[in-house]
């Protein structure tokens, strides 16, 4: 099963991931741009993020939306789901791909 929240029940996100969520607005645009531009495969736990991120990457690749708009959407997504441990774990993976060290 492609998991909407990947067996996350009762598992707590790492402290690092939780800090990433709290500082989502402070993550520099260049980190998101690196992630958007990367062809590296991603394996997200959270189904909503899998679909969302595929969409924003596609919009970036096809120049359907300006990067500033995509980054705004990404921040809004993570702010909405900040309470979910699976989102926090996925965010930690993304930030690693983007070369971000909190």
């Amino acid at each position: 099963m492609d998991d909407g929240c990947g067996g996350c029940v009762n598992r707590r996100a790492s402290g690092q991931a939780a800090r990433n969520i709290m500082n989502i607005e402070q993550i520099p645009d260049r980190v998101w741009l690196t992630i958007l531009s990367s062809d590296a495969p991603l394996d997200c736990e959270f189904l909503a993020l899998s679909l969302f991120f595929t969409n924003v990457r596609r919009r970036h690749r096809t120049h359907a939306s300006p990067p500033a708009e995509l980054i705004k959407d990404i921040r809004a997504f993570f702010n909405k789901y900040a309470a979910l441990p699976s989102t926090q774990r996925d965010l930690a993976k993304l930030l690693k791909l983007g070369g971000h060290h909190a």
Partner: protein, 329 residues
């Protein structure tokens, strides 16, 4: 919580008692229901506890858990559908039903990922259909809290879950990308004449014919770890055109799915990975029902309407979608 086929009178009693319900049935039954907190869609195929069946004298009813609140039923048309995510957050859940082949179905399929707030609140649902023997004459319909059949509207039942819980939407897709060619499409849409196979442009219908591709197997794309299918509707080699049940997208790598063995055995082995007893609502694709020979066969605790398309945030094909509720923290 009942999640099964019920006779009309039992459903009427539940509606009159104020129970929020998700309903699926033949149009003739849904037209007899009283006003209340329910949405419904037409379909006569179901996975019931006794197995897959064609049933026109009962209604598949899904009751929602007692802890939900703020239940509302809403309709959206082609102009308002892009606002489907407006005003919702993680604790709001939208259950959506769209009539197959309607304008809202096509719009949602092509545009849902572009809607403001895409995937920022839990959205699950299905595409209403008809008896396959009536395809030429009947039209799929949806209902929004009253016995008025709608052909060109999306219906939504939205509710709120308490802060201590969250909605967990998941999909069960038996198909994975095969090891063959990488296929891309230059344009989005429900049909394609041209494809880019391993970097070379070609006519896609000719390619599939030349390969002898089994078009019961879908195209599969990897969406950041989630396998998302696009099912084949028709391959017209003479016209050089391929039609799909969901749109293909440029900038996405597709592969033909790897073959699977016995559908039910495969399904059961995947089900072991989930807590199926927690699933509140699920739906499965008519193509799985047909190609998997599910009539008369059981799929454990996974029951619900058989659909002309599934929704988990966006339109899906040949997939089972389900929702459960988990404790947060």
């Amino acid at each position: 919580m009942p999640n099964r086929l019920l006779p009309l009178n039992e459903v009427v009693a539940k509606i009159k008692a104020g129970q929020p319900l998700l309903l699926a049935a033949d149009e003739s039954l849904l037209k007899q229901l009283p006003a209340g907190n329910w949405i419904g869609g037409t379909i006569p195929y179901f996975m019931d506890v006794n197995g897959g069946c064609l049933c026109k004298d009962r209604i598949f009813a899904t009751e929602l858990p007692g802890f939900i609140s703020d239940v509302r039923v809403m309709t959206f048309n082609r102009a308002t559908l892009p606002d489907i995510n407006t005003g919702a957050d993680m604790q709001d859940v939208s259950i959506v039903i769209l009539p197959a082949n309607s304008g809202v179905h096509v719009d949602f399929a092509l545009n849902a990922p572009k809607y403001a707030g895409f995937a920022t609140h839990p959205v699950i649902g299905w595409i209403a259909g008809v008896d396959l023997s009536d395809l030429a004459t009947a039209r799929p319909k949806v209902f929004c809290g009253k016995p008025e059949a709608l052909e060109e509207s999306a219906v939504v039942l939205r509710f709120r879950v308490p802060d201590s819980k969250y909605a967990h939407i998941s999909i069960l897709n038996l198909f994975r990308q095969g090891s063959g060619d990488v296929i891309q499409f230059p344009n989005s849409g429900f049909s394609a004449d041209e494809a880019i196979v391993n970097g070379q442009r070609c006519n896609f219908a000719e390619y599939l014919t030349r390969k002898g591709a089994d078009t019961k197997l879908p195209l599969v794309a990897n969406y950041c770890g989630a396998s998302v299918n696009v099912s084949f509707k028709a391959v017209d080699a003479a016209a050089g055109k391929v039609e799909f049940y969901a749109p293909v997208w440029p900038g996405t790598d597709y592969k033909l799915a790897a073959p699977i063995g016995d559908y039910v055995s495969e399904f059961e082995s995947r089900l072991k990975q989930v807590s199926s007893d927690k699933i509140v609502f699920s739906c499965n694709c008519i193509l799985n029902y047909l190609y998997g020979g599910l009539e008369g066969r059981q799929t454990g605790a996974i029951v619900g309407p058989i659909t002309f398309g599934e929704i988990a945030y966006q339109l899906l094909n040949q997939t089972m979608a389900c929702i459960s509720f988990e404790d947060l923290g």
